[in-house]
Symmetry: C2
Subunit: 176 residues, 2 copies
């Protein structure tokens, strides 16, 4: 299965969540077992040689790809969640929304110094959430080895924003 | 690794999210690769012979176990999400909260008649959300083969409530 095939497994929903937005929907991809397996195999092949020690997934579509990859690599899977969802002591990191700010959190004891961490999410847009996730890992004392996404939206320049965290993606959608 | 071991991998956080609640926290379990692998292997061994055609995970901790199991079994993974999160046409199902009601949704074309579906979530408490998820699958025309959980809280009687949907779990916590 090549890149074209997984791209065709992703559905575009026009004008969602608001007029003018072309939403790239990964539900059709994960409902296609060959496409889902292809994504995980590509990530595995890229990150297995890097000596990562933990995988952190961003709530909630990042849990789908992150958990599957963590199982496959036999690595700990860490949840990065929206505020107020984690029960024990957390570190928090704010990030800007279109209007206002939001916050993500991680358990303080989930990542420690010496950990080499891969961040996983389904889609890289402006990179705001992913950047906050990387900063959160660093607050815990961990090192970011890379950030992995299924989809990149190049027009939103997330790759430039995340440059120091080695962004990697499987497919791009630009002006389509 | 036996049942005792995965139970010991689950952290109990007292008085969260409110006084008197003993919260069973699976983040420590999924940060333990042997414990996470054990859960997925147990589910795999139970459901591989049943002829299920799809796995549906309940947002958002159900995504962690459901996605990993779907990858392992080579089956489509369907997201059951909180209201307003899915971009295409959905079926919705209400369920009762302690005060008021909430709603979960699934894409209408994600499950069709002839599908034999396994519902996956991390924890079975009163069974309200899981019951709504099963009803949602039936609205799509699918058949529920079973409902699988890592943890059961027997005092909340979810197993009785879900009886017709064949609930199965790996560990129980009662009055501890």
């Amino acid at each position: 299965m090549n890149d074209f095939d997984i791209k065709s497994a992703i559905r575009t929903v026009p004008h969602w969540p608001k007029p003018g937005i072309m939403f790239r929907d990964i539900t059709t991809l994960i409902e296609n077992p060959r496409a889902f397996r292809y994504c995980i195999d590509r990530f595995k092949e890229k990150y297995q040689p890097t000596g990562i020690t933990k995988i952190a997934g961003i709530e909630s579509r990042g849990f789908v790809f992150g958990a599957a990859l963590a199982l496959e690599l036999g690595l700990p899977f860490v949840l990065i969640r929206k505020k107020g969802k984690l029960p024990a002591a957390v570190f928090a990191q704010e990030y800007a929304l279109e209007y206002g700010v939001d916050k993500i959190e991680v358990h303080q004891n989930s990542i420690t110094s010496g950990d080499r961490v891969l961040i996983v999410d389904d889609l890289l847009a402006t990179g705001g959430t992913a950047m906050a996730a990387c900063q959160l890992v660093e607050k815990c004392g961990g090192t970011i080895v890379g950030s992995a996404f299924v989809i990149n939206l190049p027009e939103l320049k997330g790759v430039e924003k995340l440059r120091k965290y080695n962004p990697f993606y499987l497919v791009e959608f630009a002006g389509e």
